[in-house]
């Protein structure tokens, strides 16, 4: 069965390593913070200028001057640092953030990503997404494998305007975990109960299936 949003977040959380600085995008990526594996500590970077983002505030802690990149009120952990937007993107652009998790409309087999603009629809802007995909060492994209009409979002070549080129390394969808490498999607894991055939059928780009593909493990 296709994964729920929470399950996708749980699977992405398995990509975390101890000591990682991580930037989580809006939506499913935000949920990843709830599933950090035991024994592993990560520090969350919020691109509006906060390293060491904590949970939402209590009523007593609420402060209009303390927000995250999603413009939500937030807290800072002990040992956090707060800085300007230029410093924040120096970190991001300079490759100091270990992992970025973000959503997308489309990804293609060359690691290109389209996530910010659908021609004909109102374009609200790219925010920090272009900087994040250009700067992070390690990008994981979360999205549904196909749109609601069954059209694949894993393409030979993105059809929408790009957010970044050749930058996506890993994709976690509701059906599979895939690695982007050498111009192809390499299937690494299946969602529980999902067949390779179904993944193949919903992957428009080149899919490499090498040997037995294990099911994802959730503890």
């Amino acid at each position: 069965m296709a994964l729920s949003r929470e399950q996708v977040a749980m699977r992405v959380a398995q990509e975390l390593q101890d000591g990682y600085y991580v930037n989580l995008g809006i939506g499913i990526p935000t949920l990843v913070a709830n599933y950090v594996p035991a024994g592993i500590e990560v520090m969350l970077q919020s691109e509006n200028g906060l390293l060491g983002m904590g949970p939402y505030p209590t009523e007593a802690e609420l402060d209009a001057d303390m927000i995250n990149a999603g413009k939500e009120t937030v807290t800072a952990i002990k040992g956090a640092a707060i800085f300007s937007s230029a410093e924040s993107f120096a970190m991001i652009r300079g490759g100091h953030v270990d992992l970025t998790v973000l959503g997308a409309f489309e990804v293609d087999q060359n690691g290109n990503i389209a996530s910010w603009m659908i021609p004909g629809k109102l374009v609200k802007g790219m925010g920090g997404a272009m900087d994040l995909v250009a700067g992070a060492m390690n990008i994981v994209v979360t999205m549904t494998h196909a749109d609601k009409y069954g059209n694949s979002k894993l393409l030979q070549s993105c059809t929408l305007p790009l957010t970044g080129v050749g930058c996506v390394k890993k994709i976690v969808t509701d059906l599979a975990v895939l690695e982007v490498r050498n111009g192809a999607f390499h299937l690494l894991e299946r969602a529980p109960g999902i067949t390779v055939e179904e993944i193949q059928q919903k992957t428009a780009g080149k899919l490499v299936v090498d040997g037995e593909i294990p099911e994802m493990q959730f503890n």
Partner: protein
């Protein structure tokens, strides 16, 4: 020091000299850290054809959004807009021009403007619509886009504490774009929560040295919250 007393006592004085067609760089991220009173003054002045450079354009009825009501903004340079219906309407009708700029590139363009760097290379936006019409170059095996700096006739920022020399400190994440905006204005106006005596701010903890700031005004702030999220305490 008469020559260094930058405190003004009215919003009229704070924004004196702002004219139709000028470029205004504004600090703030969403509604956090915005110079509320200075924006209100621009509305009052009815200055037209402004180019406004800011990460966002406020919401309906608050922040830079209020400058849309009388169509004072001709062009918006921002990374994320359209949190307000009026913005959408003016954009779709062609009354408002928008230059979308990646958030980090926008911050760096402001910093570069203030720091006398006319242009810099960045990987951000390479291969995307942002790079169209811009010079690109491969450096050490990666592709980069050349981005020009931004400067403004005015920069308007919000700070927490200031002294009369214009030294500024920002509070929590209301810092955001404010320090870079402050460097990039020909005239930089800081609206602040508190004015303290010179020497009260520890020199090495000043975020914006006074050399960048021409005017300081004490404001009072609503500090509207855009997305109020709380947990059970």
């Amino acid at each position: 020091m008469a020559g260094f007393n930058k405190v003004v006592h009215s919003y009229e004085d704070a924004m004196a000299g702002l004219q139709d067609g000028m470029t205004v760089i504004a600090g703030g991220f969403g509604l956090c850290g915005i110079p509320e009173g200075l924006i209100a003054q621009i509305k009052k002045m009815k200055t037209k054809d402004l180019t406004v450079v800011s990460n966002n354009c406020g919401v309906d009825g608050f922040g830079l959004g209020i400058l849309l009501e009388d169509r004072q903004i001709k062009k918006m340079v921002a990374s994320y807009v359209g949190e307000n219906a009026l913005f959408e309407k003016q954009l779709l009708s062609g009354e408002l021009e928008v230059e979308l700029t990646p958030q980090g590139t926008l911050a760096e363009k402001m910093r570069a403007g203030g720091a006398g760097i006319p242009a810099f290379f960045t990987a951000t936006g390479y291969g995307t619509p942002v790079a169209e019409g811009k010079e690109t170059r491969e450096i050490n095996g990666r592709n980069y886009v050349l981005e020009p700096a931004i400067t403004g006739d005015f920069a308007i920022v919000r700070a927490w504490k200031a002294d009369r020399y214009g030294n500024l400190m920002f509070r929590h994440t209301s810092m955001n774009f404010n320090p870079m905006a402050a460097t990039a204005g020909k005239i930089t106006v800081a609206e602040v929560e508190e004015i303290v005596e010179p020497g009260e701010l520890e020199p090495s903890q000043i975020h914006t040295p006074g050399i960048y700031v021409q005017r300081v005004i004490k404001g009072s702030f609503e500090k509207r919250i855009e997305r109020r999220m709380v947990r059970q305490g």
